[in-house]
């Protein structure tokens, strides 16, 4: 009999409250779930339901009031700043609604940023950047800066950059939120494709019905609680 595969993400009793006293808002309440490696999970819910808080806690961008988060076996909530930096550099990657590109850098330079942080050899870095830009269909736009690209192109660059460091977990917060329907569909398809081709685990917060359909599983959040 095969050994059970440990989950890529293991969340137990996660609670996060903002503010205090009468103005306190509980974004997550005792949330528990697992995500298997290579799974594409869509996190859905209304605005303010706690989707972003959940992603932030998964990626170590925020700390829970109680509960634990383990990513690839690492207890995220106990890491210090350098540990969190290492986690984000080596294990977790983000794709944000606002793209998060560095305006002064070209598309290729933006994609190469995670590799520079790891001091990847130049030739290997350039090969990987070229491969990823090819993957997201922007090979011909490698030397363009963000302000010379459309929103969809910028998000594709952001996805390429997120994949550059070969992360184990990809967190995407409303990646199509600023895109039109057609472009959003293209980005979602791309995400599905790269998750499969790169073998990464992905957690995507979205309202997009298409992505929900593309996801392996949907986690619905309502009033800080997870269903499903």
């Amino acid at each position: 009999m095969n050994e059970p595969v440990p989950p890529m993400v293991e969340v137990r009793g996660l609670t996060r409250t903002y503010g205090a006293g009468s103005t306190a808002v509980t974004a997550l309440r005792d949330v528990t779930f697992d995500i298997a490696p290579g799974e594409l999970v869509a996190v859905v819910g209304r605005s303010g339901s706690g989707k972003t808080t959940l992603l932030n806690l998964l990626g170590g961008l925020d700390r829970p009031d109680s509960g634990t988060v383990r990513v690839d076996g690492t207890a995220v909530s106990t890491l210090d700043d350098s540990g969190l930096s290492a986690l984000r550099r080596d294990t977790v990657a983000y794709v944000f609604q606002t793209f998060g590109l560095i305006p002064a850098l070209t598309a290729a330079e933006n994609v190469g940023l995670p590799l520079r942080m790891r001091r990847t050899p130049v030739a290997e870095r350039e090969r990987r950047v070229e491969l990823l830009l090819d993957l997201v269909g922007l090979r011909d736009h490698a030397r363009q800066r963000p302000d010379q690209l459309s929103g969809g192109q910028q998000q594709r660059v952001a996805i390429a950059r997120a994949l550059a460091g070969s992360p184990r977990l990809l967190l995407a917060d409303e990646p199509t939120g600023q895109l039109d329907t057609e472009t959003g569909l293209a980005v979602m398809s791309l995400l599905r494709a790269v998750v499969e081709s790169e073998g990464v685990t992905a957690v995507v917060a979205t309202h997009d019905q298409v992505l929900m359909a593309l996801a392996d599983r949907v986690l619905a959040i309502s009033d800080g609680r997870v269903d499903g």
Binding site: T52, N56, G59, L61, D62, D81, S82, S85, A86, L87, R88, R89, D90, A93, Y94, F96, Q97, T98, G100, L101, I102, P103, A104, L105, E109, L113, P114, R116, M117, R119, T120, P121, V122, R125, R161, G165, D173
Partner: protein
């Protein structure tokens, strides 16, 4: 509709940003205010103090009346005093009258003397013996200069008869005076207007007709002078304004009224005087003060213009920062239908509000800073200390600056993001053309500055004022264009590296928004600071160089009257703490080939060149020092002469030819330890074969050496003098005397060009009792009976020419070259000068055609030509102690000038001290604006920087690496910008520095200024601003990183 309410609410929300803006505008306005106060009240105060510190003689007005009959003197005097008093009305003048009689013959008929009366004699002279004359009634009490008493052999109580007046219409009645006192003229007491300039003696004073030995003045009381009935040769009424009450306006009125006063004097004197004149140095004095004031104002204006230019750049930068913060709001309002006119109205309202707040801060700040500035030690010592002085001009300047800057600042916030499309071709051409255009204008200003001949001016110098700001602006605008190119290159290079920091920081630095203005501000501020420091150092060094050349040595004692052995001993005793001291000849020189400006006559300077290395100051023009430059000017070997024993009595013997009865008058020329020569005459002695004791008419002095002896032969040549020369031998026995120079060869020669003397020979031999000097010569008695005979025996060989080093100005004037001979006249003695070298300028004769000679060589040449009277004009002292300076002043021999005092006057005079202070203020201002610029570059971009750091942190960048990254980016931006600034400052200093310095007369300084780099100060300056900037960048970077928590990623645009 956005109105005042919106403006106020927005201001409240953005209060931290606007506080920075108001602080910047207020600082700039305060700077303008301080400069306005420096140009106004401080400048006026400096002028007033300068007037108060001016020598009274430089402000005085003198009425001259020439040749007045004795009976008319009271009335003419009254008229002259009224004219001068009227002219100086409003300045509360002090009047002083001096009258000099016509020349009168002394008893022997060959010599002449004159009477004088003067107000305030005790203030004009130092009483050396006896008392001041008083009373009336013959014999009239008189005091004379000590030199007159010495040369006439007069003692207190001796009576002298001044015979008839010389010239047509002169009185025949003699005047008998009794000597009651001797005095020494004081410096700056008007003795330069005396017939003999206070010397007390002239060997050949000429009244225009005849030249004769002249003595005087015999100063008597006013009543005595009038009672004597003497005709007045010259009446002088000098009016001196009360300096504390004299203003620029009142003094200018005096200058303007000089012509009318002269007419009034001529009219009132009428036929009672032959010549009338009203003269004053006041015009030149005012020109000098005005030139100094203009020079100081020009420097303050330079500071003002540079500061204003930097402040405008800072305002632009601040405007863009505000615009960036308001971009969203502005775009929203425009999208909602806000028109441009409404935006302009809102901006204008905001500008007015901001400028009002800035004004409220800037006016008292400027007044306080100005007051503090004037209390700095140097300015306070210059008498410029003032309390806070809020003036109308201050308020106007501050308001104008604040409104202008806020308008500039706010206007940059008007455009929407839609307005900022791609650069148009016209805009691109304008941007690219601005630098070269500025460069052309700056080049023109530099050329004008370089080619013009600076002259005293009260109106300022446009080129002098505008060149620095144009040069700094042009070079900075062009220079900073290199920085992005360098950063792009660096980014391209870094892009091929593995790491993140170097690559990303250079990319970010190269693509920073509005970096052009930021770089202009930062580089311009650095350049201004470097320029300010170097300019200050160059200015101060130039003043020191000017003082070196002006004084010529460390201390100069300009004698008010000729010095003799007594004064030499006094000076020697007073300068025991000094490194060297030398008597000096400094007097006009007539050159046969000189065709220059008659008012700039060539000057002869002669010093003991054996001490030149220690004594002389100023540049030699090459690597040699003054001892090397003057090597070869001193005659070799040196001659000490025959040492005369104290109390030894010389005896003379000689034979007259048969039938003749000759007499001889000896004049001994003795030299003391300091090489000062003195001529001491003796009573006539007969040549009758008998040894006669020589009775010297003055003291020979102790420890002196006899270096020359003049023999004037006169007497009866006989009934039928032979046609052929008769040999005459004159022997002077000098008991106890020793020939100090082994092998010294005496020689004798006739002094007359056509002389009855032939075959003259001299010999010196040692005898049992001392030394014996003998002169043997052939005498044509027939010729002698008409001319007499005049011989000179000297202890040194004949002098063919005097070797000299000449100034470049003299070379330019007469075209002399090394090896040339120049015909010159010193006094009335002709000399041949041989040019042995050329120097930029001769010490104590800046910019003048001048020759530098050895004093001993000059003495020998003058003596050889028959000039026996002393020619020492001053003493120069090297490295005197403070006790020496006091001691020399106490001697009262003349004006003592020290190099350090002249440096003080040139650098710290009331109209001069603001120059270095303003240049230091420029440095402080530039550093302040540099830091403000750094803040404007780093501070307001918090939002952008935070967003970028958040992105990088989300990618896994640690806080420490994020801080390093930001610091590296700022260093990549600032370091090349600083380098450009330093380079611009250096180039601007090299190009402009020497041309921006003026003398205290408003003219080009002599010597030509050279850039004096204050390396240590510059290093400290650059190091400090780099450190401050890096620290500021590190602190702000740390704050940005702290504010860049990745959890904020979602909200970051």
């Amino acid at each position: 509709m956005p109105g005042l309410v919106l403006v106020l609410r927005r201001a409240w929300v953005q209060r931290r940003l606007l506080t920075s803006v108001v602080a910047l505008v207020a600082a700039a306005a305060a700077l303008v205010g301080v400069c306005t106060l420096l140009l106004g009240p401080t400048s006026e105060r400096g002028f007033q103090v300068a007037v108060e510190r001016t020598e009274p003689s430089d402000l005085a007005v003198t009425a001259y009346v020439v040749e007045v009959a004795g009976g008319d003197v009271p009335a003419v005097r009254h008229d002259a005093e009224r004219v001068v008093g009227d002219l100086l009305t409003g300045t509360d003048p002090t009047l002083q009258t001096t009258a000099t009689s016509r020349l009168r013959l002394l008893a022997d008929g060959d010599r002449q003397a004159y009477l004088s009366m003067t107000d305030g004699l005790p203030s004009r002279a130092v009483l050396l013996s006896g008392r001041w004359p008083a009373g009336s009634g013959a014999p009239y009490e008189a005091a004379v200069p000590a030199s007159t008493a010495r040369l006439l052999g007069l003692g207190l109580g001796d009576q002298v008869v001044l015979g008839r007046e010389i010239g047509l219409g002169g009185l025949d009645e003699p005047v008998r005076v009794v000597l009651v006192g001797t005095f020494r003229p004081r410096a700056h007491a008007g003795w330069d207007r005396d017939l003999l300039a206070g010397a007390g003696y002239s060997p050949a004073y000429s009244n225009g007709l005849d030249a004769a030995p002249t003595y005087g003045p015999f100063v008597v009381a006013e009543q005595s002078f009038l009672e004597s009935g003497s005709s007045v040769g010259g009446l002088r009424v000098t009016g001196t304004p009360d300096r504390a009450r004299a203003s620029d306006h009142s003094l200018q009125g005096v200058v303007d009224g000089l012509g009318d006063a002269a007419d009034a004097l001529a009219s009132s004197a009428g036929d009672r005087a032959r010549i009338t004149r009203v003269a004053s140095d006041l015009s030149a004095t005012l020109d000098r003060l005005h030139a100094q004031r203009a020079g100081t104002r020009a420097t303050v204006l330079v500071v003002l213009l540079l500061g204003a230019a930097l402040a405008a750049a800072a305002a632009l930068l601040a405007g863009w920062s505000v615009a960036a913060v308001r971009e969203d709001e502005r775009d929203l309002l425009v999208a909602m239908g806000l028109g441009r006119r409404q935006r302009v109205a809102a901006a204008a309202a905001e500008a007015l509000l901001l400028s009002a707040v800035a004004t409220v801060v800037a006016v008292p700040s400027a007044a306080l800073v100005h007051a503090r500035l004037t209390h700095l030690p140097d300015l306070a010592a210059g008498g410029l200390a003032q309390g806070p002085t809020p003036t109308r001009s201050l308020l106007a300047a501050v308001v104008a600056t604040a409104v202008l800057l806020t308008a500039t600042l706010v206007s940059t916030t008007l455009g929407t993001s839609a307005d900022r499309g791609p650069a148009t071709r016209r805009g691109l051409v304008a941007r690219l053309g601005a630098g070269p255009l500025l460069l052309v204008v700056a080049g023109a200003a530099w050329w004008q500055l370089r080619s013009q001949v600076p002259s005293p001016s009260d109106t300022g110098d446009v080129a002098l004022t505008s060149a620095p700001v144009l040069a700094v602006a042009a070079l900075t605008v062009l220079g900073v264009r290199v920085v992005p190119v360098l950063l792009d290159r660096a980014a391209a290079t870094a892009g091929r590296s593995r790491g993140l920091a170097w690559s990303l920081s250079t990319q970010q630095a190269a693509r920073r928004p509005h970096s052009g203005t930021a770089m202009v501000l930062v580089a311009g501020a650095v350049a201004a600071a470097v320029l300010g420091l170097a300019l200050r150092s160059t200015w101060v060094q130039s003043q020191s160089d000017q003082a070196d050349l002006r004084v010529g040595t460390d201390l100069s004692l300009a004698l008010a009257a000729p010095a003799g052995p007594v004064e030499a001993v006094q000076v020697e005793q007073a300068t025991t703490g000094s490194a060297a001291a030398s008597p000096v000849v400094h007097r006009p020189l007539a050159l046969g080939r000189f065709v220059g400006d008659p008012d700039a006559r060539p000057v002869l300077v002669a010093v003991d060149t054996h001490q030149a290395g220690a004594l002389l100051r100023g540049r030699t023009g090459d690597d040699r020092d003054w001892s090397q430059v003057t090597a070869g000017l001193a005659p070799a070997p040196s001659v000490a002469g025959v040492g005369l024993a104290d109390g030894g009595t010389a005896r003379l013997r000689g034979d007259s030819p048969p039938g003749a009865a000759l007499t001889v008058v000896l004049t001994a020329v003795v030299q003391d330890a300091s090489d000062v020569l003195a001529a001491v005459p003796a009573a006539p002695l007969p040549l009758d074969g008998t040894a006669h004791e020589v009775r010297w008419l003055g003291p020979l002095g102790d420890g002196v050496g006899l270096v020359g002896l003049r023999l004037e032969l006169d007497g009866y040549a006989g009934e039928d003098p032979p046609a052929s020369p008769t040999e005459i031998s004159v022997v002077i026995d000098l008991p106890g005397a020793s020939a100090q120079d082994a092998g010294a060869a005496w020689r004798v020669k006739p002094l007359q060009q056509q002389s009855p003397v032939a075959g003259a020979q001299a010999s010196l031999r040692t005898t049992a009792s001392g030394s014996e000097l003998a002169a043997t010569f052939g005498l044509d008695l027939e010729y002698f009976s008409y001319t007499g005979a005049d011989l000179l025996a000297t202890a040194f060989p004949a002098t063919a020419s005097v070797p000299v080093v000449v100034s470049q100005a003299l070379v330019d004037a007469v075209g002399a070259r090394t090896g040339d001979e120049l015909a010159a006249v010193v006094g009335d003695t002709e000399l041949t000068l041989e040019v042995q070298g050329v120097v930029p300028a001769v010490p104590s004769a800046p910019g003048q055609a001048a020759v530098l000679a050895d004093l001993d060589a000059l003495d020998r040449a003058l003596l050889d030509a028959g000039r026996l009277d002393p020619v020492v004009d001053s003493w120069w002292v090297a490295q005197p102690s403070s006790a020496d300076v006091v001691g020399l002043r106490d001697l009262g021999l003349g004006e003592v000038t020290t190099r350090s005092e002249v440096v003080q006057q040139l650098t710290r005079g009331p109209l001069r001290v603001p120059v270095p202070a303003a240049l230091l203020a420029l440095v402080a201002l530039a550093v302040a604006l540099l830091l403000a610029g750094t803040w404007l570059v780093l501070g307001p971009e918090r939002q952008r920087r935070t967003a970028e750091v958040v992105r990088l942190r989300a990618l896994g960048l640690s806080r420490r690496d994020a801080r390093r990254l930001l610091l590296a980016e700022h260093v990549a931006f600032f370091v090349p910008t600083f380098a450009v600034g330093v380079l611009v400052g250096v180039v601007a200093t090299l190009l402009l520095g020497p041309h921006l310095v003026r003398s205290d007369l408003g003219t080009a300084p002599v010597p030509v200024p050279v850039v004096a780099w204050p390396w240590s100060a510059e290093l400290v300056l650059v190091g400090t601003v780099v450190l401050a900037t890096v620290t500021l960048a590190a602190v702000l970077g740390a704050l940005h990183v702290r504010a860049s928590d990745p959890s904020r990623m979602r909200g970051v645009r």
